[in-house]
């Protein structure tokens, strides 16, 4: 049994404690945090590499899927699985495992944490706690993407809230109390609903399924039971599984929890407030990874375990997605705070995930999963930019900014690249995911009469271009005002973070197939009932 995944949990957690205890001054705290986070990143990169190429197998052995009994009846391939009983009487286990869905996001977690630490290199306010909490956040986020036991999953899911709550509440802007409380309560409501549906699955069918798959007739929170059960149910011959009558309410409750996290209009209003107040590193992780928990959940739980309901309720996701895309794009156009604008743009871009899911077409679903990763990279740059501009000029207020093209050339360069990447210009990574979502939605099997509705979200493409280009017109162009004549451009540690992220954005944009082959493998093996296959 591999221990790679556990290491990915242990390292940030030890790092959290060591930084908290050993961070006697700012310098010690940041170097300690960086060391642990970097170690996790290296490990996660090795894991990622094993999904991209077989060349690194010698480190942790070849990537072998865990086979359940009677694997011939169908199974979901999960890799690097670790299983230990936790509370066997209640069917709770410590199970970790990854596949093509979780690996990109799992990799993003330590990667963006590291960059967030580098970007916050000059953080002076309570540095020990700040850097320690970033590692705690990394720990809990990694746990979410690896946990294959519902109870463990829920523990990590809730644990994410705590460091984020403090990051916003202590290091945040003027209105941080309101924002952090709203963030905590709103997403917590989502979590509780989710907990209800976890219990629903636990009571409704886990015992029968456990008997069918593992031959043990106790109730269990083991997610693999449901994953294997669902795929045997979908593939011929259809094995018995949760009744549709049970799937639908569970599906809706899960979707609600994930839609709050994603977030989708109309459950989104916690996000702009949280972002506006959050410190830059917090925003980077919030938008870069935390929102992806919602998208991950939809594909892992709703698609992976409730396929019948997914096929019936595609329209719910479609409506939420389309409304999010168009609504958020228009609202962006009216924003004057750069960070608020970026926050709303995230809502719009997460709409693509729901639209892609609703297509029930392999290209649309792959595009949606790809979009999670792409948006994580791009939005990290965007929130860093909001931090940089505040740092340099003292404001994020778009009408006050002018002539930065001349005053801050390096900042402006990054801003232009990031804005065009975010509006989905070909050559950048998000073009591919958005294109695939549109192809999937247009070609999706369920959408036959609704196909032409794809025109509606396409409007958002033009509006998205409009708000970015309009912002650039106001911020970059024009004469340099006197007060920005001496504004300093990007410091070295910020330049480093940008260079790494932009390089990756372009690399993925030019060679999307590297990442897509991993996602493609997942979608074809785990969701064979999708259209277009």
């Amino acid at each position: 049994m591999s221990y790679l995944l556990s290491l990915l949990l242990v390292i940030p957690f030890v790092g959290f404690i060591v930084t908290w205890v050993g961070g006697v001054n700012q310098k010690a705290a940041k170097w300690l945090a960086l060391a642990f986070s970097l170690a996790a990143t290296v490990l996660a990169t090795i894991l990622l590499a094993s999904f991209l190429t077989p060349g690194l197998d010698f480190l942790f052995g070849p990537r072998v899927a865990e086979l359940p009994p009677n694997a011939n009846d169908g199974y979901v391939p999960l890799y690097f699985v670790e299983r230990y009983p936790w509370v066997p009487q209640l069917g709770m286990n410590y199970i970790l495992g990854v596949d093509g869905l979780s690996v990109p996001l799992l990799w993003l977690t330590p990667f963006l944490t590291t960059l967030g630490i580098v970007f916050s290199w000059t953080e002076e306010r309570r540095p020990k706690e700040f850097f320690a909490l970033l590692l705690l956040l990394e720990f809990s986020l990694s746990g979410v993407f690896m946990a294959l036991d519902f109870f463990l999953f829920f523990v990590f899911w809730e644990l994410v809230l705590i460091p984020m709550f403090f990051l916003i509440g202590i290091w945040g802007g003027p209105n941080r109390r309101y924002a952090s409380l709203k963030f905590l309560v709103y997403t917590h409501v989502g979590s509780v609903i989710m907990l209800l549906s976890i219990f629903g699955m636990y009571w409704a069918g886990s015992a029968e399924l456990n008997a069918a798959i593992y031959g043990s007739s106790t109730r269990t929170f083991d997610m693999t039971v449901f994953l294997h059960g669902a795929i045997r149910h979908m593939g011929p011959p259809a094995a018995s599984y949760l009744q549709i009558g049970a799937q639908v309410p569970i599906f809706i409750a899960f979707l609600f929890g994930f839609a709050v996290k994603l977030p989708s209009v109309p459950f989104h209003t916690w996000l702009p407030d949280a972002h506006v107040e959050a410190p830059t590193a917090g925003s980077v992780l919030l938008a870069g990874v935390l929102l992806k928990m919602g998208g991950y959940g939809i594909f892992r739980v709703n698609f992976g375990m409730l396929p019948d309901a997914s096929r019936d309720l595609w329209w719910v996701m479609g409506i939420l997605g389309i409304v999010s895309m168009v609504y958020a794009a228009f609202v962006c156009l009216a924003q004057v705070d750069l960070k608020r604008l970026i926050a709303y743009s995230s809502i719009g871009h997460m709409g693509f995930v729901l639209l892609g899911a609703s297509s029930l077409h392999i290209l649309g679903v792959e595009g949606a999963i790809f979009q999670l990763f792409n948006h994580g990279l791009i939005t990290a740059v965007l929130f860093m930019l909001a931090g940089s501009v505040k740092h340099s000029t003292g404001t994020r207020n778009i009408p006050e900014l002018r002539g930065l093209g001349k005053a801050l050339p390096q900042f402006s360069f990054v801003l232009i690249v990031a804005f065009f990447a975010s509006l989905g210009l070909p050559g950048f990574n998000s073009f591919w995911s958005e294109f695939m979502v549109f192809v999937g939605s247009y070609s999706g099997p369920t959408l036959e009469p609704w196909r032409r509705l794809v025109i509606v979200p396409l409007v958002s493409i033009v509006i998205t271009a409009a708000y970015y280009v309009y912002t650039m017109q106001r911020v970059l162009f024009g004469e340099v005002p006197e007060k920005y004549k001496d504004a300093h451009d990007l410091p070295g540690h910020e330049r480093l973070s940008y260079a790494v992220l932009l390089g990756l954005i372009l690399a993925v944009g030019i060679f999307p197939v590297w990442w897509l082959s991993m996602i493609d493998e997942f979608a074809r093996q785990v969701l064979p009932w999708l259209g277009g296959v």
Binding site: V248, P249, W270, Y327, L333, P426, S443, I461, F477, V533
Partner: protein, 699 residues
């Protein structure tokens, strides 16, 4: 066998990387690197063209694809599905376009060495034009629609950045924004076209699509038979993209404003290359407009007519707006729109002829005009740049009499003007004449083409008039500006002279190759030399076009040179003044777009922002406040009743601990209430939707 063709794209891409990374530290901002990159491309594309000609010879056709790498993996098990990849299509058309584009880029880059010498931020300029040239070269060599779009958008990005090159100018910022957003509208329509194509054929490769359309057993064939309207819808959607990129009505508004960029940018992007991409795309969409004979479907007549009508109308419409412009580059911009429209008219007429048993004349003529126009319009823009370089203004009212000061520029610009006006034997004469002949021929079956032909002839009159109005206002009479204008340095005039040579010769080249249709054609080659062995009626048509062009020049001469017909007499009359105002305001279309953009869209955005803050978030806050109120109630209950009971027990220790806990848990109770409240709402939702679904299913 043409693998080396990748180099044509890679050289300017490397130049872009080098200039972008270290250009600031190089002499001339890395201009020499950019020139070197494109020169290397020119050498390779020259060799490629020679090989293609050598293999196919004139009148033969080369058609090969060069594999690249995969972008999006194909879907296993889906009929006809292929990976979406990048690859090169090498055929007569793309080989010619590669040669043309790299040649023009080279000349313009060399000219830039002089024109941009004094500018700050030259390295930005050279990096962006190098990336642009890679984009254009990639567009014309793409073997599938998505790759074409990818490079097409890279050009759009560079166009945006270069229009806004002088970013301290507010007009430049506005123009760049407008150019990007207006073309973006076209791009979205193009994207829909790609979606429809993929859904029909499960591939985006030109050759695969043609193969499926001819193969009765294929997926695409069946899909087209099931929905024959697709054959009309697909080319129309692609044409939507072409309209945006090539600035045709109604998406033409961005091009005149794009003149805020440097003159070299206008020459390169907004005259010679990028705006031609729309024409190129429409030429490639002939695979839909002229479906293979094996496909038992009517040709998409409606789509063909739309292309022709948009072309014919825009030619005239843009020509009128050029009449009143005083900005020398705007005159040329309107003229570019008008000339591009001729190409679309030619393509429309050509598709009509091909689908009605005729020959390949119109298709050839349109591409011939594209070829010729690239030279003479680049010449005109660069000459205008040379003039602006000398007098530091774009306004022709502050020019005049410059022929004395700028002897070379004035002469080469005269050559360009004669070519644009369509005077024999300058290049514009041949191709414009062929476009109009094709239109006239198409009219035998569809009388609407008579109208388009008339518009085309009228446009020829307008073209000659505004071209010579421009030339005369600039070079004739007395100098009306300030300072002492000087002729530009040799690094600028040399490319002008080369281009002038092509403006004379590129039309005559058709004789050398026994007719342009022998080189580039759709279907059968069209080995017909201009004006050789054609029926007498053809001479009459060509004579008519030439006659109205000469009439236009004479009119311009008498208004702006001899002043025998004073322009004031026209503008003094109320109707004339109205017309002048209408044309100067560009028919109010720009104002209309501004109103839509600034008022309607921005108003909707503000309204939704208000809605979001007050209604959506308002509900959240009300729920929150409700939770707080409930918590306050519990708290009171806790203090008076629970705590009262404890008090009654008078156990000091218990009491103290309760107090402590109470204070600590005050907020948690708030959360708890909110959570309960939320749960109730969602349970109601879940039960409600499940009930609704059960009803729907009738169970």
């Amino acid at each position: 066998m043409f693998e080396y063709a990748w180099l044509i794209l890679l050289f300017p891409l490397f130049a872009f990387l080098i200039v972008g990374l270290v250009g600031r530290r190089l002499p001339q901002g890395g201009g020499h690197v950019a020139v070197g990159g494109i020169a290397a491309s020119l050498v390779v594309s020259g060799y490629l063209f020679w090989e293609v000609l050598g293999q196919g010879a004139l009148g033969g056709e080369v058609h090969t694809t060069v594999d690249g790498y995969v972008w999006i993996p194909g879907i296993e098990g889906l009929a006809g599905s292929q990976a979406i990849h990048v690859g090169l299509l090498i055929d007569n058309l793309s080989a010619l376009m590669l040669l043309l584009v790299s040649f023009l880029c080279l000349l313009i880059f060399v000219y830039s060495l002089g024109y941009m010498r004094e500018e700050e931020g030259k390295h930005r300029y050279y990096a962006e034009v190098s990336l642009f040239s890679a984009g254009m070269l990639g567009t014309v060599s793409a073997d599938n629609f998505l790759q074409l779009m990818v490079f097409w958008e890279i050009m759009g990005l560079c166009s945006y950045l270069l229009i806004g090159f002088w970013y301290h100018k507010p007009e430049a910022a506005k123009a760049a924004k407008k150019a990007f957003l207006v073309t973006r509208v076209g791009d979205v329509i193009f994207l829909v076209g790609i979606l429809v194509i993929w859904n029909t054929f499960h591939t985006l490769v030109f050759d695969e699509i043609v193969a499926q359309m001819a193969d009765s057993g294929s997926e695409g064939f069946a899909a087209l038979l099931a929905a024959p309207q697709l054959l009309t819808i697909i080319p129309l959607l692609l044409f939507g993209g072409a309209i945006g990129k090539s600035a045709q009505f109604p998406l033409h508004a961005w091009l005149p404003d794009a003149m805020e960029g440097p003159a070299t940018v206008s020459a390169l992007i907004h005259a010679a290359t990028m705006v031609k991409a729309g024409v190129y795309l429409t030429a490639r969409s002939f695979i839909f407009l002229v479906p293979p004979a094996a496909l038992p479907l009517e040709a998409p007549t409606v789509a063909i007519l739309v292309i022709a009508v948009v072309g014919g109308f825009t030619a005239f419409f843009a020509g009128t707006m050029a009449l009143t412009a005083y900005d020398i580059k705007r005159v040329l911009a309107f003229s570019t729109i008008s000339q591009l429209a001729y190409m679309f008219l030619g393509l429309g007429a050509g598709a009509w002829l091909l689908t009605h048993g005729g020959e390949t004349l119109g298709y050839t003529a349109a591409l011939f005009h594209l070829f010729n126009h690239a030279f003479f319009k680049a010449l005109l823009f660069l000459s205008a740049g040379s003039v602006i370089h000398a007098v530091h203004t774009n306004d022709m009212r502050e020019m005049g009499g410059l022929a004395r000061h700028l002897p070379i520029t004035s002469k080469v610009m005269l050559v360009g003007s004669l070519a644009l006006a369509g005077i024999v034997p300058f290049s514009g004469f041949f191709s414009k004449g062929e476009v109009l002949s094709a239109t006239f021929e198409a009219a035998h079956e569809a009388p609407v083409f008579y109208l388009l032909y008339a518009l085309g002839v009228l446009t020829a009159l307008l073209t000659a008039f505004y071209t010579f109005r421009m030339w005369l206002m600039t070079f004739h009479g007395e100098y009306r500006g300030q300072g002492h204008p000087h002729e530009s340095p040799a690094v600028m005039t040399a490319p002008l002279v080369v281009l002038a040579g092509f403006a004379v010769a590129s039309g005559l080249l058709a004789y050398g190759m026994n007719g342009f249709g022998n080189l580039v054609f759709f279907g059968e080659p069209h080995a017909q030399m201009p004006l050789v062995g054609v029926p007498l009626a053809e001479y009459a048509l060509e004579g008519l076009t030439l006659g109205v062009a000469l009439l236009g020049i004479v009119l311009a001469w008498s208004v702006y040179a001899t002043r025998r017909i004073p322009a004031e007499r026209f503008t003094a009359a109320p109707s004339g003044a109205f017309l002048h105002r209408l044309l100067s305001r560009r028919y109010g279309i720009d104002d209309l777009y501004d109103a839509i953009g600034a008022k309607a869209v921005a108003g909707l955005a503000r309204a939704l922002d208000w809605f979001d803050r007050n209604v959506v978030d308002g509900v959240v806050n009300v729920v929150g406040r409700g939770g707080l109120a409930a918590a306050a109630g519990t708290d009171a209950f806790d203090r008076r009743v629970v705590d009262g009971a404890v008090n009654a027990l008078s156990l000091e220790t218990v009491r103290a601990s309760w107090r402590l806990r109470q204070r600590q848990t005050g907020q948690v109770q708030t959360y708890a209430w909110m959570v309960v409240f939320g749960i109730v709402i969602v349970i109601v939702l879940v039960v409600g939707v499940s009930w609704f679904l059960r009803l729907q299913r009738g169970g």
